[in-house]
């Protein structure tokens, strides 16, 4: 099995401690407020469609740009950079993206959920995906050792910035860091991120007693797939508009900010579902609730 397929299997494990099991992304509030009609299965479908489309349009540019920055650092090593390649410039760029996403997420419930899931991903990498705590020595190909050490350092440093509350550590940013550090391609990273969003909505729907587990599988297999593909297709080339080139590292192709002109209307992130935004923000007003968001 190739590395990437194995990584996909690993990352799509529903037991991963990513914090998504306490998030409904506004679905609990949506049903509580009487939206989506009388049929529970239809309610889940309608919400899923709108939520995936809104989330992809607001978050995917941030996943992509963060992934590109981490990928650039990886490339520096592949091109034979020294072991102690300075990473501060890369951390600063990621921080800039994180702060922009924070400024665009003007809803405290969504902010809270995004930050707790974000830091969980960084913890997952440092505790779960680096071999440091294994009782045996893991044989890594010689060429990967330096790259992996540098990736581990990047994640560890960013995590300490999050812990110190110097950076917010939002979910799309941390997903970009995690998948970039693991070496997953950008295309797979984008797709998996939206897939996991869809799957966690369906688990939330099961927990809320809206649909049963078999129905959820049917939806995931027969409906979600085309929605995910359509939305990822629509948003895969979106960018944040920030310049990603790290000073002193040279311009790396694919960084997304070459000569071409950036038009935020067509190329940038945006909030496309104002109703979903209001409902998500009202989550905390529910008299009783199961989820944290």
């Amino acid at each position: 099995m190739d590395d990437e397929t194995f990584l996909l299997l690993l990352l799509s494990d529903s037991n991963l401690p990513t914090g998504s099991f306490v998030a409904s992304s506004g679905f609990e509030s949506y049903t509580k407020h009487g939206f989506g009609g009388d049929d529970a299965s239809n309610r889940t479908l309608t919400f899923m469609r709108n939520s995936i489309s809104a989330y992809a349009r607001s978050a995917l540019a941030f996943v992509s740009d963060t992934h590109r920055i981490v990928q650039n650092l990886r490339l520096m090593h592949d091109q034979g950079a020294l072991r102690n390649q300075p990473i501060d410039g890369y951390l600063d760029k990621i921080k800039e993206l994180d702060e922009l996403y924070d400024a665009m997420t003007l809803n405290d419930v969504t902010r809270r959920a995004s930050k707790s899931q974000g830091v969980a991903l960084l913890t997952l990498y440092s505790k779960g995906f680096t071999p440091s705590h294994l009782p045996i020595t893991v044989n890594q190909p010689e060429a990967n050792i330096e790259t992996n050490a540098s990736m581990a350092l990047l994640v560890a440093k960013y995590k300490s910035l999050v812990r110190a509350e110097i950076v917010p550590g939002h979910l799309p940013i941390c997903w970009g860091i995690l998948t970039g550090a693991l070496g997953l391609t950008l295309e797979r990273s984008q797709y998996l991120h939206i897939f996991l969003h869809a799957r966690s909505l369906l688990s939330a729907s099961i927990r809320l007693n809206e649909i049963g587990p078999y129905n959820a599988q049917q939806i995931l297999l027969h409906v979600s797939r085309s929605i995910i593909e359509a939305e990822v297709g629509r948003c895969k080339d979106l960018r944040t508009g920030l310049d990603l080139n790290v000073e002193g590292s040279g311009s790396v192709s694919g960084s997304g900010m070459e000569e071409d002109h950036f038009d935020g209307v067509v190329d940038g992130p945006a909030n496309t579902w104002p109703l979903g935004e209001i409902l998500a923000a009202r989550h905390d007003l529910q008299h009783s609730r199961i989820f944290n968001s």
């Binding site: 349009r57 945006a270 209001i278």
Partner: protein, 316 residues
């Protein structure tokens, strides 16, 4: 007082400039100019440190290709209430050829954009102890209209800002309900040079493939509401307003409902503290009128700072 044009030669079509200064404790409009199709009006006021300015467009609407760019500078210790006169109506096409030639915005990259968008840019600078109350009527995009509005606010640490940005689903009398082509609105707030909030709203009917069941039309996504508003508040003069609205919000307790309410609103406090934070309120209503009534009521503590007579000119 009305439009004495100081630097009119320097202005592009649709350009405008306002500078509000303090002169002996009174608000004094020291710069005031606008070119077609933008028009500014300022009635005389009795209030000392408050000025009121109406932003108008000829014929009461904007058409595809119109571009308005207004630069507003509020100096220390003065307050500006900026209003529109009636809702901003955005048409798809020019109803008839106008006399003056207006700068056209041609979207060169637009393989997917058929008609030129209407563009409205506004840049505001608010100095120490200054205040901006931006309380226009809602934007109404007619069938197939495309509207881009980009507002940037440079705010001093101790300045006050109130931004209302709202839009409706179209002309109900003509059966229009979310059939606009595109509505794009950016509100970016920088406090002492640091970006605190960048709200980007995009409603796009172009993305919808009518033959596909994969995504919802705008009407499906936004129903049953036909008017959406965003209010952003920060600064020393709105603390009482914020406290009052927050108390109302926290008193809400939602029980399971079978059908949506006529009006929904949310409040979020973002940013770490009073100087670096903003409060964001979003409102959705089945009718524009109920949203207007809600806003008028919720923001009424502002009367204290602009005067009751001046406040009455907003939300008419």
């Amino acid at each position: 007082m009305s439009g004495s044009s100081l630097d009119i030669s320097k202005l592009q079509a649709g350009g405008g400039r306002i500078t509000l200064s303090s002169h002996g404790g009174k608000a004094w409009i020291s710069e005031f100019s606008a070119t077609y199709p933008l028009k500014l009006l300022s009635p005389r006021l009795s209030e000392n440190d408050v000025a009121i300015i109406y932003v108008l467009t000829y014929g009461g609407g904007l058409v595809g290709g119109d571009c308005v760019h207004l630069v507003v500078n509020i100096e220390s210790d003065v307050k500006l209430l900026l209003l529109s006169q009636g809702s901003t109506k955005v048409f798809k096409d020019r109803p008839q050829q106008r006399l003056a030639s207006v700068q056209r915005i041609i979207d060169h990259r637009s393989s997917n954009t058929q008609t030129a968008a209407t563009v409205q840019n506004m840049d505001f600078t608010i100095s120490s102890q200054g205040a901006l109350f931006l309380l226009p009527d809602p934007v109404t995009c007619f069938r197939s209209a495309s509207y881009h509005q980009i507002q940037t606010f440079h705010v001093s640490k101790d300045a006050t800002l109130v931004v209302l940005d709202w839009f409706t689903s179209g002309r109900k009398s003509l059966g229009e309900d979310w059939v606009l082509s595109r509505y794009y609105s950016v509100n970016e707030i920088l406090i002492a040079g640091k970006r605190i909030a960048k709200d980007i709203m995009l409603l796009d009917n172009k993305e919808i493939d009518p033959n596909s069941h994969l995504n919802s039309s705008l009407a499906e996504k936004l129903s049953p509401y036909s008017c959406y508003a965003t209010v952003i508040l920060r600064g020393p003069l709105v603390q009482k307003t914020i406290a009052q609205i927050t108390a109302r919000y926290e008193a809400i307790s939602i029980m399971k409902r079978r059908t949506p309410e006529d009006l929904l609103w949310s409040l979020s406090s973002v940013g770490s503290d009073k100087t670096n934070g903003v409060v964001v309120i979003r409102v959705a209503g089945k009718e524009t009128e109920i949203v207007k009534e809600w806003l008028k009521n919720a923001l009424s503590p502002l009367e204290e700072h602009v005067g009751i007579d001046v406040y009455r000119k907003a939300f008419v």
